[in-house]
Amino acid sequence: MKIGIVTPWFGEKVAGGAERYAGGLARAFSNLNLQVEVITTCGEDSFSGWDHNYYKEGVCEESGIIVRRFGLRKRNRAVYDKCFGSLIQHKNISYVEELQLQHETINSDSMYKFIQENCSDYVFLFIPYYYGTFVWGAQIVPKRSFLIPCLHDEEIAYFKLMRDVFTQSCGCIFNTEEERELAKKIYDLDEEFGVVTGVGVELDYVGEAEAFRRKYGIKDTYILYVGRKVDGKNVPMLISLFKTLKHNDPDNSIKLVLIGKGEISDNLKHPDVIDLGELDEKEKLDGIAGALVLCQPSVMESFSLVIMEAWLSGVPVLVNSESNITVSHVKKSQGGLTFNCYQTFVDAITQFINSPESRTKMAEKGHQYVTQNYNWQTVTSKILKLIRSRGFNI
């Protein structure tokens, strides 16, 4: 019996937390000598066209993992835009529109055919919940399908269609207790329905702050944001807060460094906001190692891998107090501070600058929290226990 991890995108360049989770999990299963495959599309990443085949279709080995890639289905963009437009305008969308929207996200008919025809050889883990590969893929053989939803408290999570997918599947694997509570609340799931496993976070490289500063010519203290630069992650809000800080305190030399894909609009640009775009894994970790603090303004996190990476790199974090999940990490670990307005944001930054001892202590506590709770051994053993409890002999 093989474990098929189904994810819309996969590759070294894919920076999304869920996709990286898929890779980490595949490697962890592989290390346990289990047969594991990543089943994904030929798409490049979420920023590229969802019906554009970047990779070749077929089976290959990437970083020791077998990866099956399947061609993407053509999309009716007009239907998607209409439905998504309604969604972001918070209009009520009908069940049919839910179906249409999901049908026009990222889908692969040949992948679905593969799942149907080969299902008896696999149990499938679908990750993450937002896309067609999850919604349609998990409905093909629900009795062999487990979900790793990485669920967010947003409109799509409340789709009736999503409820069908959750309630028909074999079980759920949640990153955090808060995520499980959210799923229970939305879909009326039983207590037994899923397990909280967390994500394994292990760094095989320790970042070099000086190399980063040297390469990008950054001498001053900097706040770091790592992730996609999209509205949904509250990046514009972070830049605005930072710009206000600079406006109120023009002599402060502090910088805001942004690492990750996406564009920021012109009106948000500022000389002290340094947008480095997408960096490779090593440079990203170098960047984290040199930061005063890693700021995670997003409230749409089901886990927030980058927070864990900051702690493992000896850097404390600053999180949006509206996010149950990141706040929970911070409270449990005492590895950082939270903000909910400009003043709390500034107060936190000031504390990190003025109290280096407390800053270091927070970073150490964060490190301890990650190593104790989020290692792949714990994650895989919990997932395997769930799969076996449903009668699969793995």
């Binding site: 009716n76 239907v79 009908s94 069940y95 049919v96 179906l99 249409q100 049908h103 026009e104 679905y112 055919k113 149907q116 299902c119 349609w136 409905q139 093909i140 053989v141």
Partner: protein, 793 residues
Amino acid sequence: MNIIIDVQTLYTDEKARGIGIFTANWLNGIRDNNDYNIHFMRINNNKWEFIANDSAESLQNILYGSLGKWKIVDTITQFCFDNDIDLMIFTSPLMPNIQLPLEELPCKKGYIVYDLIPLVLPDKYVNNWPIQIKEDYYTKLNIINKGDLILTISNATKNDLMNHLSIPSEKIFVIYLSIKDFFRPIDKKKAKGELEKSRGLTSPFIFSITGYDPRKNNKGLIKALSLLSKEFQDLKLVILGIKKPNDEEFMQYARSLNVNDKIVFLDYVSDEMLVTIYNACDIFVFPSEYEGFGIPILEAFKTGAPVITSNVSSMPEIAADGAALLVDPSKTEQIAEAIQKILTDDSLRNSLIERGFKRSNNFSWRNVKKETLIAFDFIKNKNCLLEICEKPKLAFFSPLNPQQSGISDYSEELLPYLSKYFEIHLFVSGFVPSNTFIKNNYPIHDFSDKTTLKILDDFPLRLYQIGNNELHYPIYEALKQYPGIIVLHDYNLFGFFLHLTHLRNKSSEFIEEMEYAHDKEGRIAAEKIIHEGIFPDVMSFPINKRMVDCSKGVIVHSEWSKKELLKNINCKMPIIKIPQAVPLQKLPTISDKKRIKSSLNLSEVDFIIGVFGNVTWNKRLHAIINSFCRLLQTHPNSKLIIIGNCSKDMHTELNILIKQNKVDNNVRVTGGIDFDTFNDYIKISDICINLRWPTMGETSATLLRAISFGIPSIVSNVGSYKEYPDDFCWKVDPDEYEEDILLAYLFHMASNQALREVMGQYAHSYAKRELSLAEAAEKYARALYYSYKNFAR
């Protein structure tokens, strides 16, 4: 096999006595057998009531703790038809307070007969009975005589049944009796001591269980005692079972023989005391003149008492293998002699005890169960419902091809199966059947010349297939003249009657028909139609009453139609549901589909949605086309195929709608096509849509055909369509959300091939299980057989 067991006995005083105890033990033995699906029946407030057996529940709880769960039925016949009952068993049919249904029932009947003593000894019984009781007894004997199965408790009674009622031996099964394990040997000395202490009874004593009935031979026994009183001065006689003051008669007799001080009458003792008495007695004497079995003999054997019993009726059989001393009950000297032998010969005494105990092992509840199940199997293995040597003649009225109708196809497919039970003659009006098999294998009578119908006098059985179109007019006319069983394919024959009357310039007949069916309201509605052209909601005015009243029985295809008929028509005959059947088809393979698609000029990748049957607007074509257009936005490979007879006007209107929506390339309307091509279109369909509103309560033959090919379906959530399982048949309400729900269903089915395959497999297994023509034919046979027995004479 489905069995009803009448448990009236267990609601009488017999409940705590021999027959009641036997009945309860017998039931407990057989009711945990999975091969038999058992219902219990009783009568309560003059209504028959039924409850299903539940092996996990105690009999006590089912029978006495299920208040409100008993299903009250108007007629047993309807219950039998509804539950496909094969056999009904009456546990104590000859008991005076037990009722037997007098009507002919559509199942086998079995009776447990314990004895025929009143008939065998008429001067002691029936000849002295009040006339009413006597007549009742003979009526019951007549009913039993016609039974299909008799269970009895000894070969002696079996012989009586054969000799006095001429019941054939093969119908009679001897199951014997057994008793509780409670009857067992205990310490004799202790028993004697206990008896002396509690009842003042001292040994030696003879024990007997009798009753007031002269047949029990109390006087013979008392006389025998008197013959021994000098030789055995201490010997006493204990008689159990005679209530006061009836014992006085026997006491007086004892006085006349000067043994009154040696006799003790007991009218009732507990089970524990009974076992004690059996164990303490020196001899058990059972000198009855006639028995069906003789349970006390078995009790004595089990408890280790030496037994003397009579050499008549069942008693030598029960006490076979030298297990007791046998005597002529009319000869008191023989009884006395036997007593004397046992009292004076310990080795004889011990040998009788030993042989009696051994003999008792032949009578166990396990054996009773085993023999009963053998008897049930005898019924089960009679696979032909009809036990008529020659197949009865059946006049079969139906449209047949070349008359294009789903009912034509249905009849032609059913006929070969029905032929197993009947000699079938086909009655057609003004055409020659085109199906060669039908033409060559059945006598065909054209009744367009009305005089032909005269031959129906020779047909005790007539079956009329009734649908909602003009093909059925002549059939209806024949039905009115020669009533028979009708098969109502549509619950509401509004269209049929409208066309037959109003649209043929016979409006007054239409008014009459509506009034007949719906009284004054019907007349008003009919007049509005005729004079103002305003149609009411036709579903509120079902017309079928006249048709039903003309008939001798009604067969429908759905539970819905049955319930509606029962609700709306005061119908004396049962309404019988026989699911419409279709030939089971092979699931089409991928290569079949590929080949057929190519021959029908469709692409292999096309997703085919089929709408089958006569093309009418009540098949919700507007909703289907609108939903389909929306589906095309996301599933451009979809094709909608509308297959079936389509009027010219309908075709034109449909084409306009299709063009308006610019879906010409994705919609095909075939019009009427041959049967094979029709089936080909079903085979290549990924799903079948069969919506219907308004509905006439019809069952869709094309839907069943699609189900038998394993095609998932979407139907309207109305009428009989609701009865198909959701596993393969999704339901859409015909309301404002119809299009959206239909689209959502189409979306899911189109997007998930695995789902369609699973649904298809469910559909196919359902067809195999529920839509079998052979089973339908057997049900027809049962229904017609019932009609034959009730109405043929």
